[in-house]
């Protein structure tokens, strides 16, 4: 079943195969609502294998591969579908990047990035099945679950 269960968009990006429950978190985390474009969100949509997923459609917006890969932190199974004239013109699965830049805040309250203006960077440690992120500044490692959405 390929028919999307929410209204089709003309131009933009469809983020598909987000694990159910992660859609809202991704919206908040990546501040997708900030650019004023229309966003359609589907939560707990049925999948062909009887499971469920979330889905986000952002109109008139494309993401760089680097930006898209950052989604893999929360949704390693997500796919990015680039839409042009109602057609999928490009489609790929996100992959964990080497580093996550700017979007996360360090959980260490004594980290300099909590006290001074700084662009954060976290190095992704892929070696475990649950990835950890190491702050470029304070050099501490944290599991993904410890990060909060930016305000």
């Amino acid at each position: 079943m390929n028919k999307l269960q929410v209204e089709a968009i003309e131009h933009g990006t469809v983020i598909d195969h987000i694990p159910a429950g992660m859609g809202v978190r991704i919206l908040k985390f990546f501040q997708l609502t900030d650019n004023g474009e229309r966003i359609t969100v589907g939560l707990n949509l049925r999948t062909s294998d009887g499971g469920s997923k979330d889905l986000i459609k952002v109109e008139n917006t494309t993401f760089s591969k680097e930006q898209a890969d950052q989604l893999a932190l929360f949704a390693s199974s997500a796919t990015m579908n680039l839409i042009n004239n109602f057609e999928v013109v490009d489609k790929y699965q996100v992959q964990l990047p080497q580093s996550i830049d700017r979007i996360l805040q360090c959980p260490n309250s004594n980290c300099i990035t909590q006290h001074q203006p700084a662009q954060t960077r976290f190095y992704v440690n892929h070696s475990n099945c649950t990835p950890t992120l190491k702050c470029q500044y304070c050099e501490k490692s944290f599991s993904v679950g410890l990060f909060k959405e930016l305000n």
Binding site: N110, I112, Q116, A118, Q136, Y137, C138, K140
Partner: protein, 307 residues
């Protein structure tokens, strides 16, 4: 030949390779043997202590003067107009860096030195950033070990005391792991080496063992690295019990190897009794003195292209 540390930031021990660590240690030794009183003449080094640390600051400033350089800076950031006017660290570093050839800094927050290095046009040397890194302490520890053993290679080393929170112990272990050393971690269970560090050692194939009996491991050791256990971390009876296991006294040294040496980052409180000071194994005061040579070596390398 350009030395590989020329114009490099010294932020974290993890940034330095085995050969760079060796270069610093052998340079420290050569400067200790043959002082270089004019090597940095005409150079201005900024010594900016956003947090007070008297011994580290005096050690760095002595190192600069002994190489013929000059120092500008401050010893407590809270008293400067920088803090009062609310300037960002990035701007302060940018401006002070433009007055100087190198920027030595200490700061109460983790990662401050890394942030500074992004904004400075001159090499930044980390003199301690919060609970994170204090690389020059590790360099002087390595130099002291090298000086007493003639090598850094394949040594048997015990780390004793507060291994959980002790950043000097963590960096020193990581550095020595590059040289195939074998470790004994002697600590109360609650203060043992953190798991992430043991995992690092595991994946590097480094051998280590845990112990809670200091005396039992002494005869095997080349180096004993003692640190302080803070009394506040234990209730009084627990502390008394622990003291008996983790306090080094002269009577325990009957069976040690002739090359055995005891190091301690100082200040010590009561984890090494004073009767140890007179034994040939005590090396902690020389170690403190070595801080100046290690910092001289670092400044010399960072500021001299073909040292």
């Amino acid at each position: 030949m350009t030395n590989p540390l020329f114009q490099k930031d010294i932020i974290s021990i993890a940034d330095l390779s085995r050969s760079e660590l060796e270069l610093i240690v052998t340079t420290a030794q050569s400067i200790k043997k043959k002082p270089r009183p004019t090597l940095l003449s005409g150079k201005v080094i900024a010594s900016c202590f956003f947090e007070a640390s008297t011994r580290t600051r005096l050690s760095f400033e002595t190192a600069v003067y002994r190489l013929g350089g000059s120092v500008i800076g401050f010893d407590s950031g809270g008293n400067t107009s920088l803090a009062q006017k609310g300037e960002t660290l990035a701007d302060s570093v940018n401006v002070i860096g433009s007055y100087s050839d190198a920027f030595v800094m200490r700061h109460p927050q983790d990662g401050a030195a890394r942030l500074a290095s992004i904004h400075a046009n001159v090499p930044v040397i980390n003199g301690g950033d919060g609970a994170n890194q204090h690389p020059t302490q590790t360099l002087l520890d390595l130099f002291s070990i090298y000086e007493t053993q003639g090598t850094l290679e394949g040594l048997k080393i015990a780390m004793v005391g507060d291994l959980k929170y002790g950043r000097t112990v963590h960096s020193l272990t990581q550095a020595l792991a590059l040289f195939g050393c074998e470790f004994f971690f002697v600590a109360p269970e609650a203060l043992q080496m953190p798991a992430y560090l043991c995992e690092e050692l595991d994946s590097a194939g480094v051998s280590y063992q845990f112990s809670n009996e200091l005396e039992a491991v002494l005869p095997q050791l080349d180096v004993l690295y003692m640190t302080r256990v803070q009394k506040e971390r234990f209730d009084p009876t627990e502390y008394q019990h622990m003291k008996s296991q983790f306090v080094l006294s002269a009577t325990m040294l009957h069976d040690v190897k002739p090359n055995f040496r005891i190091l301690h980052p100082l200040p010590r409180v009561d984890e090494i009794t004073t009767d140890v000071d007179a034994t040939p194994y005590a090396y902690y005061f020389q170690q403190a003195e070595n801080g100046v040579y290690a910092r001289q070596a670092l400044l010399a390398l960072v500021l001299t292209e073909d040292l």
